[in-house]
């Protein structure tokens, strides 16, 4: 899970590397919670939490629970949440569960997605930050 903080826009971006499922949601929640706690200790407050789910094709019930938990945390500190997605299935899931009424859904076409991680010996390519 990647975390990126953009101080100018007061945003915190958390990039999820794949699907949000019961097999990884609890671990991701702990990690995300830790990342947010660390961000909270820095002087600049963040107001927008961007969750990058462009690599995800599926979110199950436990994954949904993770998102709701993060959303409540964001709302408690008066912030708002954005979710970037590319899979139509993700959009359908969030619309059906009415999350779209409380988070901003941002569709990202696959061409805009950051490149896949390079092979270990290759030189790292610049990663696009959706929050930039």
């Amino acid at each position: 899970m990647d975390l990126n903080a953009n101080r100018k826009e007061q945003t915190l971006t958390i990039r999820v590397p794949g699907d949000l499922l019961s097999t990884n949601a609890e671990a991701l929640l702990k990690e995300a919670g830790g990342l947010i706690d660390a961000a909270d200790r820095t002087p600049q407050a963040w107001k927008i939490l961007k969750l990058d789910l462009t690599a995800a094709k599926m979110v199950d019930s436990v994954g949904l629970n993770l998102i709701v938990t993060l959303l409540k945390r964001v709302q408690q500190r008066g912030g708002r949440m954005q979710i970037a997605y590319s899979s139509p299935n993700i959009f359908r899931t969030f619309t059906f569960t009415r999350l779209d009424k409380h988070v901003e859904l941002v569709k990202v076409s696959t061409s805009q997605q950051p490149p896949l991680p390079e092979a270990p010996n290759a030189a790292p390519s610049p990663r696009r930050d959706l929050s930039a």
Partner: protein, 663 residues
Amino acid sequence: MNRWTSNWKGKIRLGWPPLGKNNRTRCSAEFRTLFVQLHAAEVHLERASVELEKQFLATSTELETLTRFGDEFVKQVETLVSLATGNECSNSTLSDAIQLVEQSTAFLVGCHQETDQMLELLRNYNAQIEHLLKVETELQSTMLPLKFVQTLFKQESAPLGHGIQEMFGALTHEIEELHNQVRDIFGTKFKQLEQTHETIGQVINQMVRQAQSLRQATAIHKAKIEASIETLKKEMTSNQQRDARLGQVSKDLADDVGQIVMGLQFQDIINQKLQHVRSALPQIEAKFNEFEAASDPAAASKPLQFLHQSCRLEAEQLQTAQAELAKVEASIQSGIQKVLGRLTETDSQCLSLGEFKLLTTSFDGMVQVLVEMIGEVRELVAATVASAAEAHEMLRPLGSLASDLTAIVRSMSSRIHLIGLNAQLQAARAAQDRRGAGLEVLSARTSEISEETNRISEQAATQLDAVAAGLAESVKTLGQLHADAQAQQTLMNEQGRTHEQALHAFRDNALETLRAMGASMDDIRTQTHRTLESVRFAEFHQVTLPALRTPLAAIAGVAEQWLEAHGAGTVQASLIDGFKRDYTMASEHRVYEGFASADGLSVSTAPTAESDANREIELFDDPPAGAEPALALPVGQTAETTPTVPDATPASASDLGANAELF
């Protein structure tokens, strides 16, 4: 009067304009060319008809697949809506989870009540201990005169004998030791009692704080679940309209498909119409041969009149068939698009289900509420366990301390009592010596002080006994509360996890159905495209039918020219109704009647027995006013096998091609 001369049999008729052999020959040649075209078109028609049948069949097959996808989709919609709107609320997944939460909440409320009772007792005990701490002052002030008594005993006994001095010396020594003992008790043991008092105060504060927090959380939690259950129950009662809507979706879809199926049955209709046209062609050709064989213009005009009328009639029938087929093609295509549109609309509605305020599967729905509540209750129970454990640990040593203190105070009390008795005894002995009057007084006073001190000590001991017993009972109660909370915690951990998994599985079922619906819609879109691609009747109605109609119209034109040129009328007095006998379709009859009335011919409107039989096998009749529209025939059923419905109003009978409202 025109005069016509024909010489193809070498005869010349006077009174007609002389045209000569060449005109007849040219006319025949034109006819022959057109008949060749007609034959070629007929051959092509036969092949094209087979192809058309295949295309209809292909469309039917693709439609069947599309319908199957549509039916699967509707089932998925029903499942999804049923799950999301709580139709499954009565099932164990939700109700068991609710039961666990309610039971745990009731446990927490019970804990609060026990905690309140415990707090009241502890406050009571603490008050008693506070009172006990004042005993020191009371005892000190009661025993203070004993110090003076000690000195006075020494003074009064000094002039008396050595024996008496020794007696009172021992007494004063006991009094001294008593003072030391009291100092010890209040210096150490009662200090511990002070600490006990302080500890109990801390326990009380802590319990009050935790109880307040737990009580608030439990109250909020209880209100939340009661509100959620209440709202869900209300939603369920209003969900009955959902069933009607879902039923309407299925019905509407069935109607849409039914319309397309009716369109597909047009293949039989057009086959029949073309068969009728083709059955007329030999007769038409026979009339041409008759024309060629005719010896004079009068003999030739009759077959030409037949040719003129019959070819125009058949051309018009073909024109109608052409238009109907084009209409059917458009209707089928639009019907297919309508099916797609309806399913897409249903899918879109399912994504929002906007008419329902609360969905079990939404981010704030019953599943999420219950999952969160199980977590919250788990934390509350854990907090209760910790609180009970802490209080128990803090209070547990105090019970024995109080008991110890009681024993010490009782032993002090005994000692004081003995000192009193001893003082009385010494006083009695001193009284035997006339000089011991002062000692007697002192002894009496000592006895009084010791009685009073004894009383105070006994009282303190009794109170300490009660506090010790109370504290022991409280410790026991706290221990039990701790054990109960631990048991509840174990239950929450085991069953709570199970119910959480079941709730997530419930929601996952809905999400999986949603994903399947998305996949179904993709299949439906693809299949719609395939089905539309299979609807290729254009060549038949734009090429094949015109190829047959054109020569017929041309033959009629040539015949008309010839008849006009030779002064013969184009209209025959009696209508050639031989073809009419073959008509089975209402539109064929209408074309015939329209054609006949345009030509001013007499038309027999009285249905013959034969025409009645033919009319009885009409595919589609106009329903009586107010009746339901005609339903689609089951696949495989044709006009001949359709149960007969006598037509009371033949003029209004219509076949598929003329039923504009169907399209």
